[in-house]
C-alpha cells in the first residue's frame, strides 16, 4: 500500500554528496516527491529531508540503500503522527480589480503574507503543511497564477525525539 514518508538524512557537508544521494534514487528507480538540503547546527553535516510516496518495501529499501552510502551518517524515517512538516511557497498572481480582493482575503485566511505588490502582480508567501499549500494553490488557480515555487518539505519531530535519540 502506498503512503507518504518523510525521511531525514544527515550527510557529510562535502561537495558531491547530494549527487550521491540523488543518484542512488535514480539508479534504484525510487521516486522522490520533494528534497531539501541545508546546513545544520554542526557545520560538518547537512540535513537532507526527502518526502516520497511508496510502499513499505520501497521505504525500507531506501533506508537501507541510503545507509550504505559512505557520506551518509544517519537516516531516520520520521514518525507520521509526531512529525511537524512545513513547506514554504511563493506565488505570483495577476493583479486586477476582479481578483485582487479574493487573493488578499485568501492570503489572510491562510496566514499568508503579501510580499510584493505591483500594478500588474501580487506575490504571496504561504507557509504550512503541504496540504495547506495545495489548498491555497487550488484557490488561486482560477484567479490567474503567473508563477510559483515551493521549497519542498522540511520536517522535525515533536518533543524530545531527535535524529540521534534512538537507534533504528
Amino acid at each position: 500500500m502506498s503512503r507518504r514518508y518523510v525521511i531525514a538524512v544527515y550527510v557529510d557537508n562535502k561537495p558531491g554528496v547530494l549527487t550521491r544521494v540523488s543518484s542512488m534514487f535514480t539508479r534504484r528507480a525510487f521516486n522522490i516527491d520533494t528534497l531539501t538540503v541545508g546546513e545544520i547546527e554542526n557545520p560538518a553535516y547537512s540535513r537532507i529531508t526527502i518526502s516520497l510516496s511508496g510502499d513499505e518495501y520501497t521505504k525500507n529499501q531506501i533506508v537501507a540503500q541510503l545507509n550504505k552510502l559512505h557520506n551518509v551518517q544517519k537516516v531516520k524515517v520520521l514518525a507520521d503522527e509526531s512529525a511537524i512538516r512545513r513547506e514554504l511557497m511563493i506565488i505570483k498572481m495577476k493583479n486586477n480589480p476582479h481578483n485582487r480582493a479574493e487573493i488578499m482575503a485568501a492570503a489572510e485566511v491562510y496566514k499568508g503574507k503579501i510580499i510584493d505588490y505591483s500594478v500588474e502582480t501580487i506575490s504571496v508567501e504561504v507557509t504550512g503543511e503541504p496540504v495547506k499549500i495545495d489548498a491555497f494553490i487550488e484557490l488561486m488557480k482560477p484567479l490567474g497564477i503567473l508563477e510559483m515555487c515551493r521549497t519542498g518539505i522540511v520536517a522535525i519531530e515533536r518533543g524530545s525525539e531527535t535524529m540521534f535519540s534512538q537507534e533504528i
Binding site: 558531491g16 539508479r27 537501507a64 540503500q65 545507509n67 550504505k68 559512505h70
Partner: protein, 562 residues
C-alpha cells in the same frame, strides 16, 4: 618525509601491502608511473594491452588471493576503459582500488584533452569514490579507499587524482595496513529465531553465496550442515567454496543449476541463505520461489534483506559471527528422510546427465571438463568468460578448495576471462585454466600479449562452436530458430592467432586428444591455447525458461527437437 603526490600513491600502495598492480600509463599518470619505476624493487606493475584487461586482472587477482586488487589508468579514455571492470567488481562484490589520473585542477570542467568526470561516471558502480583536490587529502583518501574496498560487503573504490596534486609536495608518514572496519553483530533475538526455525524444520537447505566465499567460510558451513544433517547448495558465486566431493554438497541451483540442487531447494522446508542475494538468475520467478519454505538470510549488507525475496528471519552482521552463534545453539539432529530424498534426487540427476550425454551432437562439453578435472590440481584456479562455456564450467568443474572458480556472475561480462585469468595466475603463482568461448575470447584476446610478455602460466581452453552459444540457445528455444547475429562466420584461425602472439596453439575435436593436450599444457610453461571444436546446437541443460520457476525446468531436449 616530504613526498610528491605521485610518491605518496606508490608509498601508500606499498604500505597497504600491495605487491602487484595492473595498469596502463598515459599523459595524466606519467608522474605516478615515474614513482612506480623508481619503486620497482618494492612493487610490481603489470602492463596490460587495454585498461579493461587491467581492471579484470585486478579483479581476478583479488578473487584468487583475497587481497585488494589495484588498477591504475590515465584520465579520459583510460578511465572510461575501466568502467566495465569496475562495474563487474561491484556486481560481484570484489575488493578493488582503481586509481586514475586527471587533468590539472585548473583545467577541470573545461573539456580539456582527455578530461572525463570519472567520479561522476563511476558513481553508481563504485562503493565510493574520491576526487582528490588537495595533496593533504591524498594519503587519507587512499587509505580509506583500501579500508572501504575490503570492509563489510567488499567492492570497488575509485580515487581520481588531478595531475597538479600528483606533483604537489607534502609531509608523509607511513602507516600500517588499514584493518577491515568492525562489523555489526546480529541481534540475539534474531539468532534465537533462526535457531528455532532450524530446530523445527525437516528439510533444511543451506544456500551459500559469494559472501560466504569471500569470508572463506567452508568449514563453518560444513559444521552447520553436519550438525543439522542438511544439504548445501550454492549460488553461482558460491561455487568452489564447498569441495565438490563433499557428500552433502549438491552444487549450484538456479537457471542452469545442478538438478539435484535446484530440486532440493524447491523441496526444502527451510532455506538458510548465507551471503546470498537471491538474484533473479538463482530464483527464477520470485513469486513462486520456495513458497513452501521458511527462509533465513545471513548477510553483512542490510540492503540485501527483503530486497529480492521476503525472508522470515534476517541476521544482519558479520557472517562468521552469525553462523557460529547459530551453530552453537542449534540442536544436533538427524534427518534421515531428507537425506534419503536427496539421494533420490542425485540418482535422478545422474539419469538426466546420461540422457543429455546421449543426446550430444558431438563432443559433449562434459568430457572436456572430465579431462580438466583429472589433470588440474587442487590449487588450480579455473576462470571463465561468459556464456554457455561458463555454465558448463559451473556444472562440470570439480573443486577441492575455495577461491578456485573465478567468473563474472552479476554483470555477466563477456571478455572478463583473459584479464581475470592473468590476474589469478599472477596472484597465486599457479597455472590458471581459462575456459572461454569463441565469442567471449574475441572481446579481449589482445590480453594474450600480456600473458605471453609476462610468461603467465595459463592454459586457455577455447570452446569453439562458431556461434554466440547462449544467445543461439535462446534463439533456438524461444525465438523460432531465428539466429539473428549470433552466427560467427569469422574464419579466425585461433591456433595461428595464438602463435602470432607468441603462445602455443593447438586444436582438437575429440576428448582423447584434448586430454592429452590439456595434460601436456598443465606440465608446460607459459601460455597454451587449446581450441576445442564443439557443435553449435549443444545446449546448457537443465535450464529454467525466462520468467519461469523450478516447476518449468527443462532437463533435457531430445536430439531431434533442436
Amino acid at each position: 618525509m616530504k613526498l610528491t603526490g605521485s610518491q605518496i600513491v606508490t608509498e601508500c600502495l606499498i604500505e597497504q601491502g600491495v605487491t602487484d598492480v595492473f595498469g596502463y600509463p598515459g599523459g595524466q599518470v606519467l608522474n605516478i608511473y615515474d614513482a612506480l619505476y623508481k619503486a620497482g624493487d618494492r612493487i610490481n606493475h603489470i602492463l596490460t594491452a587495454h585498461e579493461q584487461g587491467a581492471a579484470h586482472a585486478a579483479d581476478g587477482y583479488a578473487r584468487a588471493t583475497g587481497k585488494v586488487g589495484v588498477v591504475i589508468a590515465t584520465s579520459g579514455p583510460g578511465a572510461t576503459n575501466l568502467v566495465t571492470g569496475i562495474a563487474n567488481a561491484m556486481l560481484d562484490s570484489v575488493a578493488m582500488v582503481a586509481i586514475t589520473g586527471n587533468v590539472p585542477t585548473h583545467l577541470i570542467g573545461k573539456d580539456s584533452f582527455q578530461e572525463i568526470d570519472i567520479t561522476g561516471v563511476t558513481l553508481p558502480i563504485t562503493k565510493h569514490n574520491y576526487f582528490v583536490k588537495d595533496i593533504n587529502d591524498l594519503a587519507p583518501c587512499l587509505r580509506e579507499a583500501f579500508q572501504l574496498a575490503k570492509s563489510g560487503r567488499p567492492g570497488p573504490v575509485l580515487v581520481d587524482i588531478p595531475k597538479d596534486v600528483q606533483l604537489a609536495v607534502t609531509e608523509f608518514t607511513p602507516e600500517g595496513v588499514v584493518p577491515r572496519l568492525p562489523e555489526r553483530k546480529s541481534r540475539d533475538k534474531r539468532v534465537e529465531e533462526a535457531v528455532k526455525l532450524i530446530n523445527e524444520c525437516e528439510r533444511p537447505y543451506i544456500y551459500v553465496g559469494g559472501g560466504a566465499g569471500s569470508r572463506d567460510m567452508a568449514e563453518d558451513v560444513k559444521a552447520l550442515c553436519e550438525k543439522i544433517d542438511g544439504c548445501i547448495g550454492s549460488s553461482f558465486m558460491g561455487l568452489s567454496l564447498i569441495d565438490s566431493d563433499y557428500e552433502s554438497f549438491l552444487g549450484m541451483q538456479g537457471m542452469h543449476g545442478h538438478y539435484a540442487s535446484s530440486m532440493a531447494n524447491k523441496s526444502a522446508d527451510l532455506i538458510i541463505g548465507i551471503g546470498v542475494r537471491f538474484s533473479d538468475r538463482a530464483t527464477g520467478n520470485t513469486a513462486k520461489y520456495c513458497k513452501g519454505a521458511k527462509i533465513i538470510q545471513l548477510d553483512v549488507d542490510r540492503a540485501e534483506i527483503n530486497k529480492n525475496i521476503m525472508v522470515d528471519v534476517a541476521l544482519v552482521g558479520d557472517l562468521k559471527d552469525s553462523l557460529s552463534r547459530i551453530l552453537n545453539a542449534v540442536e544436533k539432529k538427524e534427518r534421515p528422510e531428507w537425506k534419503a530424498e536427496i539421494e533420490e534426487l542425485k540418482k535422478e540427476e545422474s539419469l538426466i546427465e546420461k540422457e543429455n550425454l546421449g543426446n550430444a551432437r558431438g563432443l559433449h562439453p562434459k568430457y572436456i571438463f572430465d579431462a580438466i578435472n583429472k589433470h588440474k590440481s587442487a590449487d588450480t584456479v579455473v576462470a571463465t568468460d561468459v556464456g554457455q562455456h561458463q555454465m558448463w564450467a559451473a556444472q562440470f568443474t570439480r573443486f577441492e578448495k575455495s577461491r578456485k572458480f573465478i567468473s563474472s556472475g552479476g554483470l555477466g561480462t563477456m571478455g572478463y576471462g583473459m584479464g581475470a585469468a592473468i590476474g589469478s595466475a599472477i596472484g597465486t603463482g599457479e597455472r590458471t585454466v581459462l575456459i572461454t568461448g569463441d565469442g567471449s575470447f574475441g572481446m579481449n584476446l589482445n590480453e594474450l600479449a600480456t600473458a605471453v610478455t609476462y610468461n603467465v602460466p595459463l592454459t586457455i581452453v577455447l570452446l569453439n562452436n562458431g556461434v554466440l552459444g547462449m544467445v543461439h540457445q535462446w534463439q533456438n528455444l524461444f525465438f523460432g530458430k531465428r539466429y539473428s547475429n549470433s552466427v560467427l562466420d569469422r574464419r579466425t584461425d585461433f591456433v595461428k592467432l595464438a602463435e602470432a602472439f607468441g603462445a602455443k596453439g593447438v586444436r582438437t575435436d575429440n576428448a582423447e586428444d584434448f586430454e592429452k593436450l590439456f595434460s601436456e599444457s598443465m606440465k608446460s610453461e607459459g601460455v597454451t591455447l587449446i581450441e576445442v571444436l564443439i557443435n553449435e546446437d549443444e545446449f546448457v541443460l537443465p535450464m529454467l525458461p525466462p520468467g519461469g520457476s523450478i516447476d518449468d525446468i527443462i532437463v533435457s531436449i531430445p536430439k531431434e527437437d533442436n
